[in-house]
Symmetry: C2
Subunit: 372 residues, 2 copies
C-alpha cells in the first residue's frame, strides 16, 4: 500500500510521471488536487468533481476539527463516505491554518493553543492530537503537524520553528498507527537554503510514504518560491511522491514538475471562481467585466468540462452579475478542470518527451500542443 | 404544434394524464415546473436539472427584461440556448411580478409604469411589449399580460382589474405572431365566483393552445385557494392544458389535478432549499436543526435524486450550518426531484385508477403506494 511507481522520466528535466497507490484508488502524477476545506469543494457536487478528472482532493484537519468534529465524521463512516468522495483524500494537518487563521494564545513544544475563530473558545492542537484527528477522519494521506512562521520571520526564528516542526514530526510518526493511511512529513525552512537542506534531509530520514514541501506561497516574492522549488528537491528521496503545498499557478507548477514535484493543491480555482474569475490558458478572465456581456463563446472552446460544453461567457457574466450561485459553481468547476487538464497534459508531455519547464501547451507553436 | 393529447382519464376524479407537444419536446402531464427566474434554476446546472426528471421549466419575463434584456437573450440564440435548457420553457408574463415586486408609478389601460427595483429607472410594460419580449426570448409558451390586484381588493376593484386583464389579453393575442410559440391566457377574478366564471369563459373564448388560472396563492386563505381550484375548471376547455400558477404544495396539487389541472409551478422547492429546508413526504425538514447533526440517512431513502443517492442529512446539516453553497444546491435539487416525483406518481396513479384528491402515495396504507 502507498507504493509510488515512477512510470516515466523526462529526458529534458527532472520531471517524472508516476502512480501513487492508496486504499481508495490511484493517483496518476503529476496531478493537481482541488481543495475541499470543510469536506466540500465549494459549490461542486462529487459527481461534478468526478467529471473534472480530479483524483485526490485535499481537506483540512483544522476546519473539520472545529466543524463538524472528527468524531462525527468517523461516526458517519469516515471522510470519504461523509462527503461522498470515494477516491483518495489527503488531509492537511492544520499547521498552516492555525498560524494563518487563528488568534494564537500560546505556542510551545507541546502544541498550539488558539481561539476558535467561530466561537472564541480555546482550542489546543498538538502533533499527537492532529494525528489522532486525521486517523479519525480516515483520509488516505495524513500530514504531519508543522509550525509555519510568517515569511517575514528572521533566520533565527525560522530555525526555532523548524526545530519544533522536526520534533513534532517525530511525535507524529510515533503517534500515527493506521496501516491504511499514509503519513507525509513537511519540509520547512523558509527562504534559507541551509535550513531547507537540513529540513529536507531530516524529514526524508523518516522514510515515510511521501514528503511535502510547505511554507511556500505564503506571501513571499515569486523568486523566493522559485528558489525553494529549484533547491529543495535534490535533498528529497527520488522514489516517493513529492507534494508542493499551496501552489496552483501554471508557471510554478511547470517549474516544480521540472524539478521533480508530483502533487499540488491550491484554493485559487474555487476562490477565484467564486469571484467570477475564470482560467483561460495562462490568463484570468474576470467574467464580471462588461466585455463578456455579449460573448457567446465558452470560457475555453478547447475545454471539455461541463461548464465549457454547456454555457457561454455571456451567460456566466449574467449569472455573476446577478449573484446567482450557479455562476460561482460553474466557474469553479471549469477552473478545477483547467488545472487537472494542465497537469494531465504535463504527464502526456513527459511521456512524449516534449515537457519543458515553461510548459504552455495551448500555444499552437508549442511542441507539446497535441497534449492540450 | 402545441397539441394536447389526453392519454387517460381518472375514473374517480376529474384528473387526466396528457402529453403537451412543444417545439422543444413534450411535457407529460400532470407535471410540476421548476422556476428559473433569471434563466437559472437557482444553484442547479442544466445537467442536474435534467436528472430530476424536469421537463418544462418556467422563466420570468419581468426579470429577464430588466437583466440581461431580451435582445441579448435573442442574440445568444434564444432562451433555450442561453441557459442550456433544450427542453420546453414557459415564460411568465411579468404581470404578477410587476404588481408584487415593483414600486408602481402608474397603471392605465395601456400598461404599467414602474420603478426598476435594481436601479430606480422607470420601466413601462404593456401587453404589446410583454408579448414582444417573450417572442424575443423564444420560449415555447408565452403568457398573456395580466393585472394582479392584491387579494384584499374589493369586488369592484377586482372587476376593474379583470376588465383590464381581458382587454390586455385581446391585445396580446393581436400582437403575438410566432408560430413556434404558444400563447396562454390567464384567468383572474380573485375569490369571486361570478368574476372567475366570467374570466374563465372570456379567456376560453380565444381558443388558445392552453389556459392558466392566476391570482391564487397570493396571500389568501387556503380555503379560498381550494374554492378557486374546485370552481374554475368547469368553465375551462377540456382539451387544453390547464396551468394553475404558483402552486407547489402537495395537498393543493392533488386537489387541482383531481379538478383537471395539468401544470404547476412554484418557487418553494428552491426558495426553501436555499434556507436548508428539505421536502420529505408531505413534511418539511429544517436540516439546520440540531437533530440532523448525527442523522446519517439520506433526506429520503426512497428518493432516487443525486442528493439522496449521495449525501446524508448529517452532511447537508454540516453544509448548511457552515453556509456552504453546495448545501443549498443539493437540497434544492432534491426538492425539485420530490415534486417531479410527486406529479409523476400522480400520472401513474391516474392510469392505474388509484388516484385520489388526497394523494399521499408514500403511506404504506395508500392504494397508490406502488406509484411512489
Amino acid at each position: 500500500m502507498f507504493e509510488f511507481e515512477i512510470t516515466s522520466n523526462c529526458s529534458n528535466t527532472g520531471a517524472r510521471t508516476g502512480i501513487f497507490h492508496t486504499p481508495n484508488g490511484q493517483v496518476s502524477t503529476p496531478k493537481f488536487m482541488p481543495v475541499g476545506t470543510l469536506a466540500t469543494v465549494k459549490g461542486i457536487s462529487s459527481k461534478q468533481l468526478t467529471s473534472t478528472g480530479s483524483e485526490m482532493i485535499l481537506s483540512n484537519t483544522f476546519h473539520l476539527h472545529l466543524q463538524p468534529g472528527e468524531k462525527l465524521v468517523k461516526e458517519s463512516g469516515g471522510i470519504h463516505k461523509f462527503m461522498n468522495w470515494p477516491k483518495p483524500i489527503l488531509t492537511d494537518s492544520g499547521g498552516y491554518q492555525v498560524f494563518s487563521l487563528a488568534k494564537l494564545n500560546n505556542i510551545s513544544d507541546e502544541g498550539v493553543e488558539f481561539k476558535n475563530p467561530r466561537d472564541g473558545n480555546h482550542v489546543f492542537l498538538s502533533p499527537e492530537k492532529v494525528i489522532q484527528i486525521q486517523m479519525d477522519l480516515g483520509s488516505d494521506v495524513a500530514m504531519a503537524f508543522d509550525h509555519c512562521p510568517p515569511h517575514t520571520a528572521n533566520e533565527n526564528d525560522i530555525e526555532d520553528s523548524l526545530q519544533r516542526t522536526h520534533s513534532w514530526l517525530q511525535k507524529c510518526v510515533e503517534t500515527h498507527k493506521k496501516s491504511n493511511q499514509a503519513l507525509f512529513g513537511i519540509v520547512q525552512g523558509g527562504k534559507y537554503p541551509r535550513l531547507r537542506e537540513f529540513s529536507a534531509k531530516y524529514t526524508s530520514s523518516f522514510d515515510l510514504p511521501g514528503i511535502a514541501v510547505g511554507g511556500v506561497s505564503v506571501g513571499e516574492a515569486v523568486e523566493e518560491i522559485h528558489n525553494v522549488i529549484n533547491y529543495v528537491p535534490k535533498f528529497l528521496p527520488i522514489n516517493k511522491p513529492r507534494y508542493l503545498m499551496g501552489i496552483g499557478s501554471l508557471r510554478e507548477i511547470s517549474l516544480a514538475v521540472a524539478n521533480g514535484f508530483d502533487i499540488f493543491d491550491c484554493v485559487l480555482p474555487t476562490r477565484l471562481g467564486r469571484h467570477g474569475t475564470a482560467f483561460f490558458n495562462d490568463e484570468r478572465l474576470n467574467l464580471r467585466n462588461a466585455r463578456f456581456k455579449n460573448d457567446f463563446s465558452p470560457i475555453d472552446k478547447t475545454c471539455k468540462c461541463e461548464t465549457c460544453k454547456s454555457y457561454s461567457r455571456a451567460y456566466l457574466h449574467h449569472l455573476i452579475r446577478n449573484d446567482e450561485i450557479l455562476g460561482l459553481s460553474l466557474i469553479s468547476l471549469h477552473n478545477i478542470a483547467h488545472l487537472i487538464r494542465f497537469t494531465n497534459a504535463i504527464s502526456t508531455a513527459i511521456r512524449d518527451n516534449c515537457f519543458t519547464n515553461d510548459f504552455a501547451p495551448w500555444k499552437t507553436s508549442s511542441i507539446a500542443h497535441h497534449t492540450w
